[in-house]
């Protein structure tokens, strides 16, 4: 029984998969998180402002305690330290994006972003847009995210290094290329299901009465002075339809774990959903949108597109490994 479970687990999480899928996810996720760090003046200004807030407002998250533990469990980083960590984040973000010393870059990029975000949320106010992407960055750092679309892979291909991979893998696939993408999907599914669960357990079907979503849309539209939000909030039947769609979409997102092809529905709807919340409510979840890159079978999509384009493009080199 245990051996069967073990084999099943290994087949599921460690099946050979195209490294290019992981590489594209790396580029999108790192790219968006790097973009979020700019403009530098605003980011550093916020860090400086937080660094001088009174001690009574400082309530470090447990993970920040762990990160500063070498300097003392209750150590509070000053602006100079935060500024240094910020530039480390920017620098390693660039190297992770282009795939130079990819795994090390990803690890340090993840660490520095976790540090900065944990500090930001250590003043009694925590927001939800960047939790999952931190988990994703760590997962990417532990996988072969630099085996494709990277300076590392080009150096390996054109240099004197042996490109053979351990365990009989070829340069296009890896047994460790799938698990980071699956893990990202799992934590996303748990997050979305949690959102739907909370709505249903607190409000029940009243959450879909139209007035609930209308209230929140108008609340944010008034708060941030958003004309589109004010207009949308007054289209009651549209709002009611969107509220039903929201709960159904969040509550069933986990189906992409069972039927991966459903990503072709959930990803566009999700992108639309988060785009709408940004432009109508200033609720920015760009990092969530970046994580959708982990749901798309990039290599298979590319091959499908090549085949549809006609015989001319079929003379281009096509990876012979089986599609996932």
């Amino acid at each position: 029984m245990i051996e069967r479970l073990q084999r099943g687990w290994t087949r599921y999480w460690f099946a050979p998969a195209p490294v290019v899928d992981l590489a594209v996810a790396r580029i999108v996720i790192v790219g968006v998180q790097l973009y979020i760090l700019f403009p530098a003046q605003a980011a550093l200004g916020r860090l400086r402002a937080d660094s001088v807030l009174p001690g009574e407002l400082y309530d470090p998250l447990p993970i920040l305690h762990l990160l500063v533990a070498p300097l003392g469990w209750t150590y509070r980083p000053g602006f100079e330290v935060l500024e240094l960590v910020y530039w480390v984040a920017v620098g390693t973000g660039v190297t992770a994006l282009i795939g130079l010393f990819t795994n090390l870059s990803l690890l340090v990029f993840a660490w520095s972003n976790i540090f900065l975000a944990a500090f930001k949320w250590s003043f009694g106010d925590v927001h939800h847009q960047n939790g999952l992407i931190m988990i994703a960055l760590v997962a990417l750092a532990l996988g072969p995210a630099g085996r494709s679309l990277s300076v590392d892979s080009w150096r390996a291909r054109f240099g004197a290094r042996n490109v053979d991979q351990p365990g009989g893998e070829d340069q296009h696939t890896s047994r460790f290329a799938l698990w980071p993408l699956l893990l990202i999907r799992y934590v996303m599914a748990l997050a979305y299901f949690s959102a739907a669960y909370r709505k249903m357990s607190v409000a029940g079907v009243d959450w879909m009465n139209g007035y609930t979503l209308q209230h929140y849309v108008l609340q944010d539209a008034v708060r941030w002075d958003i004309p589109l939000g004010l207009w949308l909030g007054q289209q009651f039947w549209l709002i009611q339809a969107l509220s039903v769609l929201t709960v159904v979409w969040e509550g069933t997102f986990f189906l992409v774990l069972i039927f991966p092809r459903l990503a072709w529905f959930y990803v566009p709807v999700g992108l639309g959903f988060h785009t709408m919340t940004w432009i109508a409510m200033r609720a920015g979840f760009f990092q969530f949108m970046a994580l959708y890159a982990a749901l798309v079978p990039w290599r298979a999509t590319w091959l499908w597109w090549l085949n549809r384009r006609g015989p001319g493009l079929q003379s281009l080199p096509v990876d012979p490994t089986p599609q996932t």
């Binding site: 807030l53 106010d125 748990l190 008034v222």
Partner: protein
Amino acid sequence: MSSRLTGRLQILAVSVAILVAVTLQGIAAFAITVGPIERPPFLWPFLDYPMYEQPRYAGEPIVRQVVVGVLADSTDIVLAPADLGVTFWQFQNILNRAILRDDQAGAEAYRGIYEERYGRSLVAFRLEGHPLVMTEDGLVAGSPVVLGSLGFDPE
């Protein structure tokens, strides 16, 4: 060490990481608190997602919260987050809540920030609600109400 053993160890290590991550996200997502584990955001970056969970009903006003500081000479001044060098959410989620909960200790730090910045003594905060109600003619402003007030003990 043979490559086969190395591969198995890698798979084992990664499997442990996967189980830890999924378990922590599950615990946080459903606030399954066990032993010393507290509710989110204790486990950040593993979180629950309760935003916008409260139901709302027809006719319920949208209340804009306005913080008014009362100076020692009884002058009222409307305070904005930028006045204290904090973000909108630090202002709303901490100061406003402290006023509503009559939490003097929680509001004291903000009073200190203001006094240090402007050299004037604050004796109280007052949280006002400025309601807007959705009608057939659009959003209509209602009369402001006092949601809470918090006075500081004289020094």
